[in-house]
Structures are given as structure tokens and as C-alpha cells.
């Protein structure tokens, strides 16, 4: 199961959009939940008149049987106090549907990095102990960097370290819950800031592709991903000519 966390720059969600759009995945269902702000629109992955009229809501599930891939896309923010109920419902669905592993795409505030994190790659990964057993070696081969832990009480006591993902939304909660429930989960995240996060989404989806090989990775990888039609006008309508 591949899904985004609603996080800074919406990078996880944008990356998920790229996966669904490029692999032309079929919608197989949706979550009827009170944990997300309601929204509805027409098909965001429309390619022609015929498929443009299908309604789309805030939490939908897509599948690609040939790659045994199921994707959950989340399109609106969480309602206050609903993080925990959503995570619990989601993980119980993961268990009951016998999903082998979960990959969470997320992001974290770039301005919260420490000196060392400012250098090198802005991409990080996390694995639950269950998944570490299975793919820990692969991460070494890919030369990926694990998300660093930070001091629980900085300045006072530097020995106790905890996981801190500022701007990550439900990432930390979902990860810690998965650890305690023995679920195989990986978190892939990128440090970024709010703004035009399309390049961040491409970076994250290419990072994912290094592992999952969803599409053939060639030299110019950003041209391999198909941008959905709903990405038009991300920054508002056209400008009135009278402005100039």
C-alpha cells in the first residue's frame, strides 16, 4: 500500500498523484471518513472528455494488480483531534486486508534541519523493525540515508533521542503505531518548504522509484512521469490583462 501523509508542501500527495497518473491506475474504492475535511470535484486524472466527469472525493483507493500495488490518495487536511482515530482505522484496514507492507510518502520542514542535514541529500527513509529485517540490506545498497533522531531535551540532556518529524502531519504517529503493531512500514520523506513543490514531488517519486522500480529509470527521469490534468492552475487563475 502506497499512501501520502498530508505534510509540508503536500509533497507526499503530489508524488502520489504522479504515481496514479503515470501508471494509469484504476479507482477501486474510497474511504467514508469523518477524519478529513470534505471535498469533491471531477476526475483529477482526466485525459479526455469521456473520463472527465467522474466524481472524486477526499480519500480514494486506486489499484494496479500487475504490480500488486494499491494506492490511497488523500486530498484534504485532517480535522482536529482526528489524527489518532484515522491512523487506527487505517492500520486495522491494513491488517484485515492482509496488506504486506505500507509505504508512506511524506515531507518535513526544511528550516528545522541541523547543520549536518543541510549538506547532502534532502531525502530520508525510515523502516519499522519488521521491514528492517526484510529490506534493511537493500537500503544500504541504495546508499539511502536514515532519518536522524533528535535529542528529546535539547541543550539539557543530549543522550535521550526521539524521532521528530516537524511538518509531517500523521507521519510520526502512523510510524510509531506501525512499529508497535508489527506492521512492515517504510517512510520516505523529503525536507522542503512551502512554495512550488512540484520539483520536490518529482524528487520524492524518483526516490521511491529507486526502490520499487515502478517505471524504467532512465537518464532524464523527470520526463517519465505524467502530470495529471488537475495540476493546471496550481497558483490561481490567469491574470487580468488590464493589470499591465
Amino acid at each position: 500500500l502506497l499512501q501520502p501523509a498530508v505534510s509540508v508542501g503536500n509533497v507526499g500527495q503530489l508524488a502520489t498523484d504522479l504515481v496514479i497518473s503515470t501508471l494509469d491506475m484504476t479507482k477501486v474504492g474510497y474511504f467514508y471518513t469523518d477524519c478529513l475535511v470534505p471535498m469533491v470535484g471531477n476526475n483529477p486524472y482526466a485525459t479526455a472528455e469521456e473520463n472527465a466527469m467522474e466524481l472524486s472525493i477526499n480519500a480514494e483507493v486506486y489499484s494496479l494488480p500487475s504490480k500488486k500495488l494499491v494506492v490511497l490518495q488523500i486530498r484534504s487536511p485532517f480535522i482536529k483531534n482526528k489524527y489518532r482515530p484515522f491512523c487506527q482505522t487505517l492500520l486495522s484496514w491494513v491488517k484485515s486486508s492482509k496488506c504486506a507492507r505500507v509505504i508512506l510518502l511524506s515531507s518535513s520542514h526544511a528550516y528545522q534541519r541541523d547543520d549536518e542535514q543541510l549538506l547532502g541529500t534532502p531525502l530520508r527513509y525510515l523502516l519499522t523493525p519488521e521491514l528492517e529485517k526484510a529490506v534493511g540490506g537493500l537500503m544500504q545498497e541504495l546508499n539511502w540515508k536514515e532519518m536522524e533522531k533528535v535529542a528529546a531535551y535539547p541543550g539539557i540532556n543530549d543522550t535521550e533521542k526521539i524521532l521528530h518529524i516537524p511538518g509531517g502531519g500523521i507521519t510520526k504517529l502512523l510510524f510509531t503505531e506501525s512499529c508497535s503493531k508489527g506492521i512492515q512500514m517504510a517512510v520516505l520523506l523529503k525536507f522542503c518548504s512551502e512554495g512550488d513543490n512540484i520539483p520536490d514531488a518529482f524528487a520524492l517519486v524518483n526516490y521511491l522509484n529507486e526502490w520499487l522500480q515502478l517505471i524504467k529509470s532512465e537518464v532524464n527521469t523527470s520526463s517519465q512521469w505524467k502530470i495529471p490534468s488537475s495540476w493546471r492552475l496550481l497558483f490561481g487563475s490567469g491574470l487580468p490583462p488590464a493589470l499591465f
Partner: protein, 215 residues
């Protein structure tokens, strides 16, 4: 992050508020406060469906409804008041009582157009036609409750729902500037099951509808 003027602010994020509080365990006091707040924000619907007797929306069999028209927001509610509703053909059958930071409604059915209210009417000549005028704002955390409590009382087979709402033109995303658009204009969204002719063009991507109309 630092702004141009030098002060350090917390950057607003599209991810929403990053709640470390969400992951902290609740103390009994927190739980108590949250329960009280939830009770205060509960949505109550008082139906007067059978011969003027008020009943709580809990028990009772679902009532048959063939057409349900919901007008959300002051403009849509005013449209219904001006063109559809009158005291001869329509009777009040329900009222919603709720509170949130933006508005409070009461259980009175005698409302002024400037009040915040949410009332249900039934067509006297055809009691399966229901109408809802909702000029109050239903907050995010109350939308699902509103939905469940209203639709929970209806028999959903053969039900046709029409939702009327308004959005600012400035929110509409289009290639040209919104200044040149001949406003006001109509757009629609429909489910697969709606087979009739729609009277206006469908809403183009990437525009979306949110809040109660979306719910």
C-alpha cells in the same frame, strides 16, 4: 523561519497545524475538556414530522423521501425563500440546533432572513419532497454529524438529492482572469447515478467544492 523584517515566525503550512499535541497522551482533564467541547458542538435535529409533535432525531422509522433539495449558504437560502418557499405550499418539519465559533442557531422556526438558521420544509401536496435551508455555517467537525443525522432519517432508495450552493468567483480557477468572466454563472457536479439532463456545464478541473456541500 525569519521574515524580511527579522522577526522569527512559525511558517504557515498547507499540511495544517503540526500537532505534537495529537501524539501526546490525554490526561483525564484533557479528556474531560474535550468531551465537554464535543457536547457543546453537537448537532441536534428536532423533527416535527407527525402532527406537530416534536421528537428527537434518535428513534423512529426512516421517512420516505423522493426529492431532497438542500440550499447551503445565505445566497442559496435566499433563492429558495424568494422563489420557492411560501407558507401555503410548504410546512416546517425540522430545525437544526448547533453552535460553533462562527454562528449559533436556535430551535425556533420563526426566523428572520438575517438570522443563522437551518430549517427543513416539506411540500404539503407531496410529503416526499423535502427542502432544507441552511444559512448557518456548519464547521468541519460538525459536517459529518449533520450528514449522518439528516440522511440517517431518510429512506435512501429512489432518493434524488439536489444541492444548491454559492462560491466566490475569485475562487474559480480558469485560464483567463476571473475579472472577465460573466459572473454570476452556474456549474454542476453530478454522480454517476444521476441520469437526467443537467441544466448547466459541469465543473471543470481543477476546481473543487468543499465543506457541507461536498460532504
Amino acid at each position: 523561519m525569519a521574515t524580511f523584517f527579522g522577526e522569527v515566525v512559525v511558517a504557515p503550512s498547507r499540511a495544517g497545524v503540526d500537532d505534537e499535541e495529537e501524539t501526546r497522551e490525554e490526561t483525564p482533564e484533557d479528556r474531560e475538556i474535550r468531551r465537554e467541547l464535543e457536547k457543546k458542538r453537537e448537532v441536534d435535529i428536532l423533527w416535527t414530522l407527525k402532527s406537530g409533535v416534536s421528537t428527537e432525531s434518535s428513534a423512529d422509522e426512516p421517512f420516505v423521501c423522493s426529492k431532497f433539495i438542500v440550499a447551503i449558504g445565505r445566497n442559496a437560502a435566499a433563492f429558495l425563500s424568494s422563489f420557492i418557499l411560501d407558507s401555503v405550499c410548504w410546512e416546517v418539519v425540522g430545525v437544526v440546533k448547533l453552535w460553533n465559533e462562527w454562528c449559533r442557531t436556535s430551535s425556533t422556526t420563526n426566523v428572520l432572513p438575517t438570522d443563522s438558521f437551518c430549517l427543513f420544509y416539506r411540500l404539503i401536496s407531496d410529503p416526499t419532497v423535502l427542502l432544507c435551508q441552511c444559512s448557518c455555517y456548519v464547521a468541519e467537525d460538525q459536517q459529518f454529524q449533520w450528514l449522518e443525522k439528516v440522511f440517517g432519517r431518510m429512506q435512501k432508495e429512489g432518493l434524488q438529492v439536489t444541492i444548491l450552493s454559492t462560491c466566490p468567483v475569485a475562487d474559480y480557477k480558469t485560464q483567463e482572469s476571473t475579472l472577465t468572466l460573466p459572473a454570476p454563472f452556474l456549474k454542476a457536479l453530478k454522480t454517476k447515478e444521476f441520469k437526467e439532463q443537467v441544466c448547466c456545464p459541469l465543473l471543470e478541473q481543477p476546481n473543487i467544492v468543499r465543506d457541507l456541500p461536498a460532504a
